[in-house]
């Protein structure tokens, strides 16, 4: 059974705009064949990019889905053999849903842009 552990730093119910400022994380086990998602939320005592990297390592994460992340942390996570889908914006559950369908890419913005009228 193909399963991936996904790590999403959160801001409220959204993917945190910045990896380094997230104080909450959603960790989900996504099963592609069965379409199931099992998840847990972890609250950190304070935002800390080093603690986030350590947590991702400790939890043996396969994929990190985040908003903005600095180059050095991006490469650190990649070096630790994690896939990093960065510059993703949207509600965490929509993002997770898109991921479980196998269509989420780095740079995806999942907010609705209706009713915005300036050019």
């Amino acid at each position: 059974m193909r399963k991936k552990r996904v790590f999403i730093p959160l801001y409220k119910d959204e993917v945190a705009p910045r990896f380094d400022l997230a104080a909450e994380v959603l960790i989900a086990d996504v099963s592609f064949e069965e379409g199931g998602v099992v998840s847990e939320n972890i609250l950190l005592s304070q935002p800390s990019v080093n603690n986030l990297c350590d947590l991702a390592l400790q939890k043996e994460v396969d994929v990190v889905i985040c908003g903005g992340i600095e180059e050095q942390y991006y490469h650190f996570l990649r070096w630790k053999r994690m896939e990093v889908l960065d510059n993703v914006a949207g509600r965490a559950l929509s993002v997770l849903d898109r991921f479980s369908q196998g269509t989420l890419k780095a740079g995806d913005i999942l907010f609705s842009t209706e009713a915005v009228h300036a050019r």
Partner: protein, 385 residues
């Protein structure tokens, strides 16, 4: 009451109005979603206005304030992380745009790039260092004091020093401190290369269609060309270089007309120019021209007081790079490192510390974590801590 009809708002070509502004600006609706951004903010954040439209601004600007004190009532210094994964220091100000009845229609977020200011502040404040050049000895402090003055001149500079003393770092520091720092710094290694290839690498080469394949002088524009190991330059190229230094013009082979060039030349050599002239490796005229400003970088064995400072400097640097909690060397390892004569100078010391930090599993580096060749060279009995 909204006095501005929505149709009128929709017809405004806001990007055209805002694009001429030199600082980043986002126009936000009352819910904080992006209506548009100007080109300065596109460059700063890496998001195009099409990508940013309709997205909550915290996902576009991504500042340190977005999750705690947004909108900022007063201008505040913070940073952003852009789409290219760069952290950029910025100042953010929010300006509400209201109608005559006081109702907020839009909000303008101004995002000012503070990179250049922060860079300048860091250069002025950093003790014992300019760019990659570090040192605390009297000799290095003198050099660090001289560099800003040398940087202001347009005269050629010759940097002389053994291998690994930091000649490239000096050349880069002079460029970065100079008024040319926004222009390119182009390095050309005069080492093993055929005269024709080196000629093209330096002065460019004319193509059959009349186009020019750019060389270092074209690529540097008004910046700096750095010739490393200038004593290896073939005779014909030395003559062309001398012509450039005399007349301020250069020609593109095979038959280009002389064109003015405003680059600054920095050259380096492991030997003094007098030695190179005696060995017929450098023309006397070129040696005199290049030596207008000469900087001698002493080898590490002549400034031993720098060794401990450099050990600590590189230990901190590599511990952070490899995310290791290494706070120092054991007393025995420190003694060994201080006793070594470093024939490869700062480069050797740096490589040695990098290796030790990489392999060390403890908080203090013991002799066992030093490279074997160093231990053999110093004949350490036992190699314990």
């Amino acid at each position: 009451m909204n006095l501005v009809p929505p149709a009128l708002l929709a017809s405004l070509d806001l990007p055209a109005i805002l694009d001429d502004l030199p600082i980043g600006m986002a126009v936000l609706d009352r819910e904080g979603r992006v209506l548009t951004v100007n080109t300065a903010l596109e460059r700063l954040t890496g998001f195009t206005r099409e990508q940013a439209r309709g997205v909550p601004c915290r996902h576009v600007v991504r500042s340190g304030l977005c999750q705690c004190s947004c909108p900022a009532e007063e201008p505040q210094d913070t940073d952003i992380v852009n789409r290219l994964r760069r952290r950029i220091p910025v100042r953010i100000s929010a300006i509400p745009v209201r109608d005559v009845s006081g109702q907020e229609l839009f909000r303008l977020d101004l995002v000012e790039d503070l990179s250049a200011i922060r860079d300048l502040e860091r250069r002025l404040e950093e003790p014992g260092a300019i760019g990659k050049l570090v040192g605390k000895s009297r000799a290095m402090e003198r050099i660090l004091r001289l560099l800003p003055a040398m940087a202001q001149s347009a005269a050629p500079v010759l940097v002389v020093g053994e291998t690994g003393t930091g000649k490239d770092a000096v050349a880069e520091a002079i460029h970065k401190l100079s008024p040319r720092s926004r222009e390119p710094f182009v390095r050309v290694d005069c080492g093993p290369m055929s005269p024709e290839s080196l000629d093209a690498a330096l002065f460019g080469r004319g193509q059959t269609g009349g186009e020019i394949s750019a060389g270092a002088f074209q690529r540097a524009r008004g910046g700096t060309v750095y010739l490393s190991d200038v004593g290896e330059l073939p005779d014909a190229l030395q003559a062309r270089l001398l012509k450039f230094l005399d007349e301020g013009t250069m020609t593109v082979a095979p038959e280009g007309a002389p064109t003015p060039s405003h680059v600054r030349l920095i050259a380096s050599s492991p030997s003094e120019p007098e030695e190179l002239v005696r060995a017929n490796r450098l023309h006397q005229d070129l040696a005199s021209r290049l030596s207008a400003v000469r900087l001698h970088l002493p080898p590490l064995r002549e400034r031993r007081e720098d060794i401990e400072f450099l050990l600590n400097h590189f230990l901190g640097f590599f511990s952070a790079k490899f995310r290791k909690n290494i706070t120092g060397f054991t007393p025995k390892a420190r003694l060994l490192l201080l006793a070594h004569d470093y024939p490869g100078n700062v480069r050797e010391l740096r490589n040695l510390v990098e290796y030790a930090v990489m392999v060390c599993p403890r908080t203090s580096i013991p002799p066992e974590c030093l490279p074997a060749h160093l231990l053999n060279h110093l004949a350490v009995p036992g190699g314990g801590t």
